[in-house]
Amino acid sequence: MAESQGDETAGGTRGGQYSGPTAHVPEPVHDHHDDPAFITRTRFLTGVALVTGGVMTAAILVPVVGFAAADALKDEEWRWVDVGPLSDFPDGETSSIAVSGPAPESDRRAFLRHRDGAMIAIWNRCAHLGCPVSYSPGGDVYACPCHGGAYDSLGRVTSGPPPRPMDRFDVKIVTPDGQDVARQTSPAEGVSTAGASPEDRVLLGRPFSIDEEQNPFKLHGPGELVTGPLSNLYPF
């Protein structure tokens, strides 16, 4: 390198004294250090160390993060759950039944509402922040103990902070040997129990969210909006 820098001034003057041939031929600069693409040994070794360290750190962090998060981000699986024969839920009554939650404390329940030959199942999870909602048969309303959310008989918000109605479970009625008798076509109508016999079984399925007009939406967490511009904050 010292040689290549010497080359540059080889034909010039040093300190004003004449010291070589007079004709100055400009030579191309070829000090590798002036070339931004040139890789010095230090640069090469620094790069090797950084890449090796990065690969090893990733080899530790990727499994660790996957281990911590992968299972947590799986959606819960839902299956059709038989909750009893239709005769357990007579027309005109709203029954509260336990739906298995992952923890014994979770107190996840459904309110099976049977009115005028139609049945809907309302999840007892408050749409505000997930507290368990209680049903008052007197007023035919639901109330949340945590922050005073109140819902009407169909789970639509009447007062308090909840941003949307309570979620519903899908419901279907099948014969004891598993043939479909009636399925839910729209949440507003529910499942018709007109053609079903009392021994037919009631099954609860995957839950879903609804808006105030009882249009179905993908299940959302408590506190999330399903309509309006702010619902775009929860795209997934």
Partner: protein
């Protein structure tokens, strides 16, 4: 002190000094301790400035009682509440240590907020102490998270539902909220893994972070010194003098402080060199 410092030294004192010198020569502990412990502080520093130390002492108490409580606590949904009953009712002084940890947590939240208020109202967060404030704000957030995660560990109905609500508040944050909540509770709903996850966060993740940030906070406090109280005589005199200077400048329409200097035509043209004259 002056005239008693004569005569041969006590041999024990001499041995102690030799040992201290041995350590000091290799570590520079004397310089470091002096730098950290014997700082100059502004006049009129008051009891208000001890709130930060109080918060740190409470953190230390929480760490010690927490380590010892962990020797009896079991983060399993089937045995958590029962293990806390054993701590409270059966183990020697268990009620006391658990009480210290519980009330110490509340006291720490209170003291941290008082400290925050003191720093805010004294204006101690101003230049050059912005980063001290930032590390303190991170410590505040971590303290709140300690409260949240510790609250669940009792695993009674109140703890359970309060934490359900708190995690659902997290979940309602836009876009990433639901994912953070899913990771926090180890699934879409509170389940058996949630408790051990909160325990791990309460014991390992946040305390590690807090110890690190308390170290940074202390380093910055030592390096930058503590701020002068706003009511201190010196600072008030400086402010009064500045105010007077500002008014005087206004009266005479002179530029002062950061106000723009008015463009004034030069009173006398600058002497120009005449070419050729010498």
């Amino acid at each position: 002190m002056a005239t008693t410092d004569i005569g041969p030294k006590n041999p024990a004192v001499k041995a102690g000094e030799a040992a201290f010198d041995y350590v000091d020569k290799r570590t520079g502990v004397k310089t470091g301790a002096k730098w950290f412990m014997f700082r100059n502080i502004p006049a009129e520093t008051s009891w208000f400035q001890t709130l930060g130390f109080t918060a740190m002492a409470l953190f230390g108490m929480q760490a010690i009682t927490g380590i010892i409580l962990a020797m009896y606590y079991k983060p399993d949904p089937n045995s958590a509440y029962q293990s806390i009953e054993v701590i409270t009712n059966e183990v020697t002084w268990g009620w006391l240590v658990r009480g210290m940890h519980k009330w110490g947590a509340s006291a720490m939240i209170v003291v941290v907020f008082l400290h925050l208020g003191r720093v805010f109202f004294f204006g101690s967060y101003k230049y050059p102490r912005e980063l001290t404030w930032v590390t303190g704000a991170i410590l505040l957030i971590m303290t709140m998270f300690m409260g949240l995660t510790g609250y669940l560990l009792v695993w009674d109905q109140k703890a359970y539902w309060a934490t359900v609500v708190a995690v659902n508040i997290t979940a309602s944050a836009p876009i990433v909220g639901p994912y953070v909540a899913d990771i926090l509770r180890a699934g879409p709903e509170f389940g058996p893994e949630t408790l051990s996850r909160f325990y791990s966060i309460h014991m390992l993740v946040i305390p590690g972070g807090m110890a690190t940030f308390i170290g940074l906070h202390l380093f910055l406090i030592s390096k930058l010194g503590i701020a002068e109280p706003p009511y201190s005589k010196r600072r008030m005199a400086v402010e009064r003098a500045e105010e007077e200077a500002r008014r005087a400048a206004e009266n005479e329409r002179l530029p002062y402080g950061r106000r723009e200097v008015p463009a004034v035509a030069p009173a006398t043209p600058e002497p120009q060199k005449v070419e050729g004259a010498s």
